[in-house]
Symmetry: C3
Subunit: 277 residues, 3 copies
Amino acid sequence: MSAPSSTSRSSTFTISPADVGSALADLRERAPLVQCITNIVVAQWTANLLLAAGANPAMVDNAHEAGPFAAVADGLLVNLGTPYDDTATAMQRAVDSATGAGTPWVLDPVAVGPLEWRTRIALDLLTGSAPAIIRGNASEILALVGGSGGKGVESRHTPEAALSAARSLARTHSTVVAISGVVDHLTDGERVVRVHNGEVLLTKVTGVGCALGALMAGFCGVLDDPLLAAVAATGTLTVAAEAAAVVAHGPGSFAVALLDELAALTPEDLADRVRLS
Amino acid sequence: MSAPSSTSRSSTFTISPADVGSALADLRERAPLVQCITNIVVAQWTANLLLAAGANPAMVDNAHEAGPFAAVADGLLVNLGTPYDDTATAMQRAVDSATGAGTPWVLDPVAVGPLEWRTRIALDLLTGSAPAIIRGNASEILALVGGSGGKGVESRHTPEAALSAARSLARTHSTVVAISGVVDHLTDGERVVRVHNGEVLLTKVTGVGCALGALMAGFCGVLDDPLLAAVAATGTLTVAAEAAAVVAHGPGSFAVALLDELAALTPEDLADRVRLS
Amino acid sequence: MSAPSSTSRSSTFTISPADVGSALADLRERAPLVQCITNIVVAQWTANLLLAAGANPAMVDNAHEAGPFAAVADGLLVNLGTPYDDTATAMQRAVDSATGAGTPWVLDPVAVGPLEWRTRIALDLLTGSAPAIIRGNASEILALVGGSGGKGVESRHTPEAALSAARSLARTHSTVVAISGVVDHLTDGERVVRVHNGEVLLTKVTGVGCALGALMAGFCGVLDDPLLAAVAATGTLTVAAEAAAVVAHGPGSFAVALLDELAALTPEDLADRVRLS
């Protein structure tokens, strides 16, 4: 298990396509146990996507067990898609336990901003514990730094516009911030990495971003550098998506093919195809 | 956002295939935000089906946020598939808020009749607020007017047999009632529209009816006439299902193809293929 | 509806491939109503798999309705994948009601052992009521008899190693124990049946074991012998999986094809292909 790293080594380390390929090889070899406290919409999809990529999902999300389990998991995802009182308690206990045990955790602040209750949950989680990664769309990232968010779960801001907010958020919380979009922008407050892979059909399947957050938690379980973990997860998913789009006839067959292509993706192909800047 | 219309214009307006095609064009253009308080079985399927059709799903179903969100959503679905105390509270608050704000809402009274708790929830929701549409199978519609329902979620009554109950229910609550079956029957208490499209594989995939209710809420968000909204949703789903059945090898590939065909369906093709009487 | 049988007839009855084929014919003819109290990850998948196989799913899992419904269902599944306080109450009430009414029930003790709260739920359910079948992986079965379980939901023990524990558990609780693995091992404490069908892709799709438990509850609803019910469900799923693997390109298309092949599987083909010892 790896704690989020903020050493000077990682903060000056430039991430290359070869690093992303190696990261996938590590994920496959170690099959990290990823605890997901996520939502009723994407729980199955998230588990299947983690299995296809090579990680080991465990949806332990009740208030009784989430805390103890976070101490033994390799990574933890906290996703605010459909929180309830019970699972909100589970989230806080899991984050406390993960923090104590050094388990890296990822926050996916779905729809924060316009929805007040979950916004407070997110801010409470960030008080006293630094996630390895915060992953969201531009509106969600802006909302976490006090800007105006979107109306629903779909972003109305571009990743570029949110980048300075993301850098600020990353520095304040000693975390990595990953902004999804046509080009994904990821930063640890110092370094900025852009992932240029992707496919428009990704926006027509629910829960791709949510599953990406879970995959980031998986990569955090096998890597020291959370920015590399975030980039590797993003590259793995978006490169597989490009392959899936070739055989898909629409959003239904695209989602199916995405799982097939994730399972078939080799570290070498990933290193060849991922486009970073 | 459009409130349910009960003007004399709409109650004498005859619905044509061209109207259904235009409705789909409207849905695509405006991408209504559809709040779904639905069940754990079909949440992902519902979101993916809304995205494929052109709407914008938001599964906001907790008791803290469901009310405020219903005031800003374009349409609201309340589905009784797997209610819990928490989500039952969310349903009531969302309906109250929707009623105050003029947000049209759709009731899908899954398995009411034999299951007492949810039957009371449904009747409570109907007290003091008129949904734009009530969508169910024949047993569920009969149960809402005091008849005997089925043993489970599958209907043992024909839509034809439930039609007079549906007309009565529609008049009592100033709503539209949509009865699913081999032929779908839809009525606002005065007009009756039958949709003759469909495919037997639809009964072998869980949650098609549930997703249809969500799609009706989406169409309500862009149309003044809730009967047209119900007919347009039914036509869109069943015409896409006919196309999906051509390429499917069974219920698994049918569900995948249904999402593909929904995304590919043009308003022109819909107007050509939908069969109304 | 059939209660679990522990008569001398069934305990000396040798199960043949022809019996398994006949069992599927019975399932198709009677379409048993299967109540599933299961988890947020696999609810949709479970319902679709039951429909594809020929059973009739009903996900009634709230504390108000689970008890009364268990008295009228043909079979009941209790799956501990994502329990909450509300659904844990529903499980106990459903088991009490099923026991009183003679409804056979299946326990799937997902991840018991390392997770204390659900382990206590499982043991409480087994106090005062005998399930027709307990279905799990080797670690879960060992945990129920006091052995050490695995770290997560994936088993680290082989079915063979757990077989003596399974026989002991079966005798103590007058139940059938089914252990999933490369070769499935099933026992009522006296007889032992091994099912040699299967496919490695089954481990790359979440919830296959969970859905298998539901299918066992379905077969219990139409058969007197719960060991035959467990064997028939296992044979049906794994034979369909072998056919699905032929057309699959990875875990995504495999899951889709598994539903197609389940729906297409005839009792005759099943009897021909199932490999028992």
